[in-house]
């Protein structure tokens, strides 16, 4: 091993890496919010919808969960333009991440919904609440509270898998690291530091998600 490590090049470019990290956070956070909306809609469709809707949701979930994220990104970015749907790299990444998270999270949310005691729903029905009201007022908050830890880890997995969107030239931490290492020839050092940044972001996301749990479910009125 004759390699001389030169981390000072990395520190010179550290602000650029931080910008990349910020873009990753932005992209992931947006996808988390949108993906959760998709998930709640799908979970509602699967638990309360008519048979064709249930069938549609199941095929969506199974299709996404049994194919690699990378191939899904390729389809959104390279295949869709053929049928004249053109997305910029970052939008394609956001759409792919939202749809991916929506599938995984909808199964989690569904488990939460099905864990709500039937008596609660019967009581709401006895009070004359409509189906959508029952879902919005009685079911969804306790359901999300029950499955929150699983949702939080799914969110963090999404943030980590977002590194893959660099392959379609979407701009985020991995893409910026790629271009920096190719101009400075310090591949190992740059990837090593970028890995550390991802670890820090994962820990940061975990802490913020716990803070959100506390603010919404413990201190707030939700459930």
């Amino acid at each position: 091993m004759n390699y001389v490590f030169q981390f000072n090049v990395v520190w010179e470019h550290f602000p650029e890496l931080l910008t990349g990290a910020l873009l990753t956070i932005q992209l992931s956070a947006t996808a988390m919010v949108l993906g959760l909306c998709v998930a709640v809609l799908c979970a509602y469709g699967k638990t309360a919808g008519p048979r064709p809707v249930r069938w549609l949701v199941t095929s969506y979930v199974e299709l996404i969960r049994n194919t690699p994220f990378l191939v899904q990104i390729f389809i959104f970015y390279f295949s869709l333009p053929v049928i004249d749907i053109r997305l910029t790299a970052n939008n394609a990444a956001l759409v792919a991440m939202t749809i991916n998270l929506g599938a995984y999270a909808s199964e989690i949310v569904r488990a939460g919904i099905e864990a709500i005691p039937v008596g609660q729903i019967e009581a709401a029905r006895a009070l004359g609440l409509k189906r959508l009201h029952i879902f919005r007022l009685i079911v969804i908050f306790p359901a999300l509270k029950t499955v929150y830890p699983a949702l939080a880890s799914q969110f963090i997995l999404l943030m980590l898998s977002s590194s893959v969107v660099s392959t379609i030239s979407a701009v985020e931490l991995t893409a910026i690291t790629n271009s920096l290492q190719s101009t400075t020839f310090r591949a190992f050092e740059f990837y090593f530091v970028a890995t550390g940044l991802y670890l820090a972001m994962a820990l940061g996301f975990r802490a913020s998600l716990s803070a959100i749990y506390w603010a919404v479910f413990v201190r707030g009125r939700g459930a």
Binding site: N2, P68, V71, F78, S79, I83
Partner: protein
């Protein structure tokens, strides 16, 4: 202009499947060895050993696989002073990655075995390694099968990321065929379907096994 997507191109994709499977299987076997080690350390009486195992798991579950792949790929080059092939680098990276996940899955299985089983084994004056090997692990293995199969699906999907550093497996073959034929609308959906054909039966198997084990353990499920 370009080639059309015909039988030869399809066969090229099919021929890449064994590489995806071989990489997944290799990583699963390597990861099983690492994972068993991690699971045992993670449940060890010594706090230092437990801390080491936790650190390992945090590191590999808190960073993107793509980054692990880059660091291993360029790290091996640093250690051996020459650029190594993609194959040993991806195999090593995915082994370490699956070791962390399998370790965490198996820790759960070991801890699910009731405490009196350890005590009973100790009463028979078995040493700690023997308690683990003859009494605990055979029972833990049974519980761990469904989540392990589930992880195998996750692993097969994540091996697609090896395409990014140029390792030729199913996704990389899809990229090459897209470049040759300019037909992303045909190639990538086919690649996705091929992954689906591999992963879906495994997902169903995992679900089926889970239900069977729940039935024998007398776990009641809401859904």
């Amino acid at each position: 202009m370009g080639r059309s997507f015909g039988l030869n191109e399809f066969l090229y994709l099919l021929k890449a499947i064994p590489w995806t499977l071989l990489l997944s299987l290799g990583a699963l076997i390597g990861g099983a060895i690492v994972g068993l080690f991690i699971a045992i350390l993670r449940t060890a009486p010594s706090r230092v050993l437990r801390g080491l195992a936790i650190g390992y798991i945090e590191l590999f579950q808190g960073t993107p696989v793509l980054m692990q792949l880059f660091v291993t790929y360029y790290g091996l080059a640093v250690i051996f002073d020459i650029q190594v092939d993609a194959w040993p680098a991806v195999l090593l990276a995915f082994t370490l990655y699956s070791g962390a996940f399998l370790g965490e899955i198996w820790r759960g299985s070991i801890q699910a075995i009731p405490r009196p089983q350890w005590e009973a084994a100790a009463c028979l004056s078995l040493s700690l390694p023997k308690q683990l090997w003859y009494v605990i692990l055979p029972q833990a293995a049974r519980i761990s099968i469904p989540p392990t199969v589930g992880f195998a699906v996750q692993l097969i999907k994540s091996t697609s990321i090896a395409a990014i550093i140029g390792f030729i497996e199913l996704t990389r073959a899809g990229q090459l065929m897209t470049n040759a034929t300019f037909k992303p609308m045909i190639v990538y959906p086919i690649v996705a379907v091929l992954y689906f054909i591999i992963c879906w039966p495994l997902s169903l198997l995992a679900q089926h096994l889970e239900r069977r084990i729940d039935a024998t353990l007398g776990v009641k499920r809401h859904f």
